[in-house]
């Protein structure tokens, strides 16, 4: 039995009006990977913020022991000084600085405020080697992919002589192979005695690497599972997270497929900056009424680029190809025209592209179809309110009022607002790009139910997703994309994860 490196005892944290953490106890043994799971809002992030000093000592109740000593962190610097480093979901790197500058930001190597760049560069080479990143230290961070940026973050933590590494959703924006690399790295750290806390919604990953799993629900510790002793399954974890058995992770749907509602033929798109790079290569794709069509592929396969180029050429250059609705060619050359033809694109990045966060729910829902609630350009408030409320009720957006600001909503509810916007606009061809990214199991189920509902109303739905189980669970037909090409098309009933991955892998070389 190894020693306990971190122990948090009876932590209670109260925000005005909400008890975010209620008497939570949590301990991590030395040299283990400890997963922390729970639905959004269960208190995972708050617990980690208490641990790292974001919520300073005194603003919570309870005690924290790190390596046997009681800690009273007043800020992040103090927690980092003892070797406790947290890596957030949104990376904290400066894009226009080089790798080496980022690595030692706030931890500059030198004396009297003068940086010893030779020392820094030689140290950085060692660190990069440890995390397996083969890039020159002078490379600008903005030129790296998300996966590599994550490695830079981890190397940065190593530079601070980390003893307990906390990763908040590290693989949320990584593709499968990059995720795999990252998990390997965690295993390697475990060998070297560095413990990690892994917060993740991806239960399959959690099961792959974790030695113990602590489940939080509604601000309280439900249980800690020991993966070395017991046989743990995903269903077992989900039961703990939601407090009930989720027998079906995907809701059932009566499939009634009608005519082809939308089709693109010979669709070609070039990268906006690199002129000879094709991001969509001779794409032919169709969707029928009442059908949910999935588009599978790795990060960078060109799914988002394809959908956005169809949606009013909002991405890419030199776009060629034809779009058809019910067999008739339509003009989708601007976003306004695409919307007028009933096409919607619900973005993968709801904060940056989907919502006006500082505005109320109401304004976010109505923006794409103000015409329906206005007369000669004058908005009729009561009509707008009552229509927006209808959608709030229909999609069960949990909010105090439709005037609540979008930024105060949880991820799942924000996603529902984005969907509501396009339902409000009454679109019948919906491109949904990663609609369940970063939201918890319960909210995912609700989103799936909404998608089913839309399909049963006869809309055509194109679902872009990196999560294969999700595609297999709710789609009728699946396209597989790789490097801008559609490399396979199959019925969902014939598809398996292995089959899809094989098509992807055969075409990535």
């Amino acid at each position: 039995m190894s020693d306990v490196i971190l122990e948090m005892r009876n932590i209670t944290k109260v925000f005005p009006g909400v008890k975010a953490l209620d008497n939570v106890s949590f301990s991590v043994r030395e040299g283990e990977i400890h997963a922390l799971v729970g639905e959004n809002g269960a208190g995972k992030s708050t617990l980690m913020q208490v641990l790292s000093g974001v919520h300073p000592y005194g603003s919570y109740e309870g005690t924290i022991y790190f390596k046997g000593k009681e800690c009273q962190f007043r800020n992040i610097t103090q927690s980092e000084d003892v070797g406790l480093v947290i890596i957030h979901q949104e990376l904290a790197l400066v894009p226009f600085l080089s790798i080496v500058e980022n690595l030692f930001l706030g931890n500059e190597q030198g004396k009297n405020g003068i940086i010893d760049w030779n020392k820094a560069v030689s140290m950085s080479e060692g660190l990069l080697e440890k995390v397996g990143l083969e890039e020159a230290p002078a490379t600008l961070v903005k030129d790296l992919g998300v996966g590599k940026q994550q490695l830079v973050e981890i190397a940065k933590a190593l530079a601070k002589e980390v003893q307990l590494l906390i990763l908040d959703e590290p693989t949320a924006s990584l593709n499968d192979s990059d995720s795999e690399k990252l998990l390997d790295l965690l295993r390697q750290f475990r060998e070297n005695g560095i413990s990690s806390i892994l917060i993740s919604h991806k239960l399959s990953e959690v099961l792959k690497v974790a030695d113990s799993i602590t489940i939080l629900r509604d601000g309280a510790t439900i249980e800690t599972l020991d993966c070395r002793k017991d046989e743990i399954t995903e269903d077992r974890i989900i039961r703990g997270m939601v407090g009930r058995d989720l027998t079906h992770r995907f809701p059932e749907r009566d499939v009634k497929i009608g005519k082809t509602i939308f089709e693109v033929k010979d669709w070609n798109v070039y990268h906006p900056l690199q002129e000879d790079r094709k991001v969509s290569d001779d794409i032919n794709l169709y969707v029928r009424e009442g059908e949910v069509v999935g588009v599978a592929g790795l990060m960078g396969a060109g799914r988002t680029e394809l959908a956005m180029s169809i949606f009013g050429r909002s991405y890419g250059k030199d776009i060629s190809g034809k779009a058809f609705k019910y067999g008739e060619e339509i003009d989708v050359s601007t976003i306004q025209k695409a919307i007028a033809h009933g096409i919607a694109y619900a973005t993968e990045d709801r904060k940056a592209y989907g919502l006006v966060l500082i505005h109320p729910i109401k304004d976010n829902i109505s923006i794409a179809n103000l015409a329906s609630v206005s007369n000669y350009g004058v908005i009729e408030d009561p009509k707008e309110f009552s229509m927006v409320r209808e959608f709030r009720d229909m999609l069960d957006i949990r909010c105090s009022s439709v005037l609540q600001l979008a930024l105060n909503l949880s991820g799942g509810n924000q996603q529902k607002v984005v969907l509501s916007k396009w339902l409000f606009a009454n679109q019948d061809i919906l491109f949904l790009d990663e609609p369940t990214r970063g939201i918890d199991v319960g909210a995912k189920y609700e989103i799936y139910t909404i998608i089913n509902q839309l399909a049963s109303e006869g809309k055509g739905i194109v679902l872009l997703s990196s999560e294969l189980p999700e595609l297999l669970g709710i789609c009728d037909r699946i396209y597989v994309m790789s490097k801008g090409k559609i490399v396979a098309e199959m019925k969902a009933s014939d598809a398996t994860q292995e089959k899809v991955m094989k098509h992807i892998m055969n075409n990535t070389r």
Partner: protein
């Protein structure tokens, strides 16, 4: 009582700035021994500071849309100069001059808006360039000298009063009548809105609070009109201001175009992907700003009865300060016309009050700067509290 408190707390941002204005008015009313609110001084105050209110309406849209316009002072001066040259050197009719000047203002706005919106050069840089360009062109236009005076009808644009149809000795009855009509309109519109809101199940102000609110507004309107009636009546400029304020309040709060400007300023990418033609809309906010800067330039020239190379110097700062004091967000997406107008009157009252007190221009600047900082500080603080 409890509802009153929660109401005030909820709306502290909306009313805070108004309360600050009242505090400042009371302060200067005291320190100037009552000169501030004398009818003749109110008239002066409005005439001297009308340009801030006019341009603040346009600047609010520009700032809400996510931009800034530093060129408005120079544009106002340039238009004043062009109008002066048209009328004095070429004997152009005053009305035609006004129309052409407003169109020219729109074209200048379009010129700058093109570079900002379509060529994607930051608004700060383009309008900084515009500030230099149009200041320079003002000098070229006037050949370094003051051009004036103007025909009387043109002067009336700024120094005129509305005519009195009743000829009651020493008292301007029409002014009071306008005040009464305006008051009735305010109350009726409020009542209609209230019943509409009730019908759709919205939370409305408790009845007694609504009565108090309307009494305060009507009292202020009638009081102002009574004061003005005892002097020469309502100045023409005040009518222009009222029309602009009502028009822009309506556009920003009730129209599709207004809503889209806010959405664009709040998140330009999200607005674009929701089908808003963001480039054109951004462009139009600058065209609108150009027209209003032109109007302000005409009014300033008319009041001074001369166009000078130094006219409009520093106007942009007063206008931008007014908008920020009024609670607009520097990053776009947030701000109200009524806030900007109250901000403009705060600057106006400070300009006027400090001048009466004999405070030099040096200290006036410093004090205005501190007030701007305090106002924004208050705004940041109250925003934090809401979250």
């Amino acid at each position: 009582m409890k509802t009153l408190l929660t109401f005030l707390r909820k709306n502290v941002r909306d009313y805070g700035i108004l309360i600050a204005l009242i505090v400042i008015i009371v302060f200067f009313q005291n320190t100037t021994n009552g000169i501030l609110l004398r009818p003749i001084n109110i008239t002066n105050l409005v005439l001297q500071n009308s340009y801030i209110v006019i341009m603040a309406c346009g600047m609010l849209l520009v700032i809400v849309a996510g931009g800034i316009d530093l060129s408005v002072g120079s544009v106002a001066a340039f238009i004043g100069a062009v109008a002066a040259v048209f009328m004095v050197r070429y004997n152009m009719h005053w009305f035609l001059t006004i129309v052409l000047s407003l169109i020219l203002g729109g074209l200048i706005g379009a010129f700058q808006g093109y570079w900002i919106s379509y060529a994607k050069i930051p608004a700060f840089i383009v309008t900084l360039a515009g500030m230099l360009i149009f200041r320079g062109l003002t000098l070229v236009m006037l050949q370094g000298e003051a051009v004036g005076p103007f025909a009387v009808p043109f002067q009336r644009l700024s120094s005129g009063f509305i005519p009195d149809f009743f000829n009651y000795d020493g008292f301007h009855v029409t002014t009071v009548l306008i005040g009464v009509i305006f008051s009735v309109l305010i109350v009726v519109i409020d009542l209609i809105n209230r019943s509409k809101q009730k019908k759709y199940g919205f939370e409305v102000l408790p009845f007694y609070l609504m009565v108090v609110k309307n009494l305060l507004i009507v009292g202020a309107v009638l009081g102002l009109c009574w004061l003005m009636a005892s002097y020469k009546g309502l100045p023409t400029v005040m009518i222009i201001l009222f029309v602009l304020i009502i028009l822009y309040t309506f556009v920003t709060s009730q129209t599709v175009i207004g809503r889209r400007i806010y959405a664009m300023g709040g998140n330009v990418k999200a607005a674009m992907l929701s089908g808003v033609n963001t480039e054109r809309l951004y462009f139009l906010t600058f065209v609108n700003m150009g027209v209003l800067a032109a109007l302000a330039g005409l009014i300033v020239a008319a009041r001074l009865n001369v166009a000078t190379p130094k006219a409009g110097d520093g106007f942009e700062l007063d206008v931008i300060a007014a908008v920020f004091i009024g609670g607009a967000s520097a990053t776009g997406g947030i701000g109200k016309i009524i806030g900007a107008v109250v901000g403009a009157f705060m600057i106006g009252v400070m300009n006027n009050g400090m001048s009466i007190m004999g405070i030099g221009i040096d200290w006036q600047q410093a004090i205005k700067g501190i007030v701007l900082l305090l106002a924004v500080l208050f705004d940041v603080y109250s925003k934090k509290k809401i979250q």
